[in-house]
Subunit: 308 residues, 2 copies
């Protein structure tokens, strides 16, 4: 029976590509391991897998009785629902430390860098295993995605160096150009149901007992939302009620202007206003410089809930 | 203001030596960091610090407003009481993943090896920093202590290789001989109050809402306990009541015979009997091969509580 590698619910490119990259590394090291996913792929991730010739990883929601590596998260609400009945062999992640616990020692590679794949590259280097060309390409795209082509405040020197090294292995001359091509795919929102857009990159967080769902759409020009922003906001409201969430937030991130508009639905807007020191206008506010959910949106909100 | 490195309450040699080793590494990398401790040193740890010329790290219980690295644990009950008011920069550990969480990304090096210092050695190698002779000696002793001179089932090839490399740096010809000398110091129990013995290497665990305290005394011959085993057991009983614990357990480990006698005081002995598939006789049982609290004692007990 092989081991599994799985990323978070509503998988993004980092979750999928790191599952592929880690399973190859572990298998090469003599531990048969296969990549899996907890949900449907985004257009961006499909673009990456097609570009480098990968199949979609197996859709697998239940892990009872299995052994697995967790990538790109360490929060229980983001992982498999029956994780308590599985054996966690390790966690590779670049977020805050969540509430997953284990009953036996394990392997954790957690670093404050821009992308899980940057850490997986460190693991390849540690074990002195060569990265195949196609895997290097997918890893590189995941880093460009998570760091918004190096523009996100989460981006570190390690991420930039890692992209350079992976581009060389993959034989890609201009990583940034490929990154822009990828973000244009990501910006395509026509003919997509509102709910699909809201959930395209959506994560739940348990903040001091309050369930908070935060989605993010990163696009090259925020104007594409103009004609249906009200519909997005309405769907965010429905999502909050259906999931008994305290709040739902959607970040509309303009990667060229380097900032985000927040759409907010909350049972107590003052917590959100306090967290970011802003005033909401009709549940909306533009904040300059906000690009990272992980680094700029979650920590202040978690603190605001903690202090309540 | 410097950062701190601190190990668990009732510090063992691994917690102290890894705090010393990590603070030197971080300081060398340009991040002023000092080692601290949450409690008194054991005779074994004092022996190591004297042997290699170190001062005792600062006794520091409160970390509110400070930034710190956590070593040799990730369980809240084992760490500083006011950890929620501190910033956790990283965790270096070799135990099960505990319930410490953070609100921001951090650095975690957690590996299923025999000792935290084995992981710290990997960090020195990663950053290409030379380990000073005296620090190498202290790290080496901590690994010999945690792995019971390689006899513990927690000991891995990585630990053995690490001791070899550190011995070479420290200029020590026979690490095992030094290890035996150290365990003889550890075995000296005359004129020690019962409570001091019970708490010498004692850890609390939150097992599915139940507080369980587990101590361990590793000696070269269990016969030294014969004359006061009843007194130890009585003190264990008192300790359970004072701390409102579900159970207290003391492992008397014979490192030559490679097994442990368990002294148990519990509000429900059947959980412990089920966990280890044994029958307690007057709250005691010898179990062949049990040497590691972390690998052989905690996981089955945690599972037994989980399944209750
Ligand atoms: Mn990621
Ligand atoms: Mn240890």
């Amino acid at each position: 029976m092989p081991n599994y590698v799985v990323g978070h619910k509503v998988p993004d490119s980092d979750s999928i590509c790191s599952a592929i990259a880690l399973s190859y590394l572990k298998t090469t090291l003599g531990e048969p391991t296969v990549p899996a996913r907890l949900g449907e792929l985004s257009p961006e991730t499909k673009f990456i897998l097609e570009r480098f010739g990968f199949e979609e990883p197996e859709l697998k929601l239940s892990y009872a009785g299995e052994s697995l590596y967790i990538v790109d998260h360490s929060d229980r609400v983001q992982g498999p629902d029956d994780i308590d009945d599985a054996t966690i062999l390790g966690i590779i992640d670049h977020h805050k430390l969540g509430d997953i616990t284990t009953s036996a020692p394990l392997e954790c590679w957690i670093r404050p860098v821009g992308c899980t794949n940057t850490i997986i590259k460190m693991m390849y280097d540690f074990h002195d295993v060569e990265i195949p060309k196609d895997i290097a390409g997918a890893m590189m795209c995941a880093i460009l995605s998570d760091t918004v082509i190096f523009k996100s405040p989460t981006c570190t020197t390690a991420d930039i160096k890692c992209v350079e090294a992976l581009a060389e292995i993959a034989g890609i001359d201009d990583p940034k150009e490929l990154g822009m091509e990828m973000f244009k795919v990501k910006s395509a929102v026509e003919d997509t149901p509102m709910r699909d857009l809201v959930l395209r990159d959506f994560k739940d967080f348990n903040m001091n007992g309050n369930l908070v769902g935060i989605g993010q759409l990163e696009v090259v020009d925020l104007a594409i939302f103009d004609s249906f922003k009200d519909d997005l906001h309405a769907d965010l409201k429905a999502l909050r009620e259906e999931g008994n969430r305290h709040s739902t937030i959607l970040l509309l991130t303009d990667i060229m202007k380097e900032g985000s508009e927040l759409l907010v639905v909350s049972e107590d807007e003052s917590v959100i206003e306090k967290a970011y020191d802003v005033k909401l206008d009709n549940g909306r506010v533009w904040i300059d410089g906000i690009m990272s959910r992980k680094k700029q949106v979650v920590p202040p909100l978690q603190d605001a809930f903690g202090a309540k």
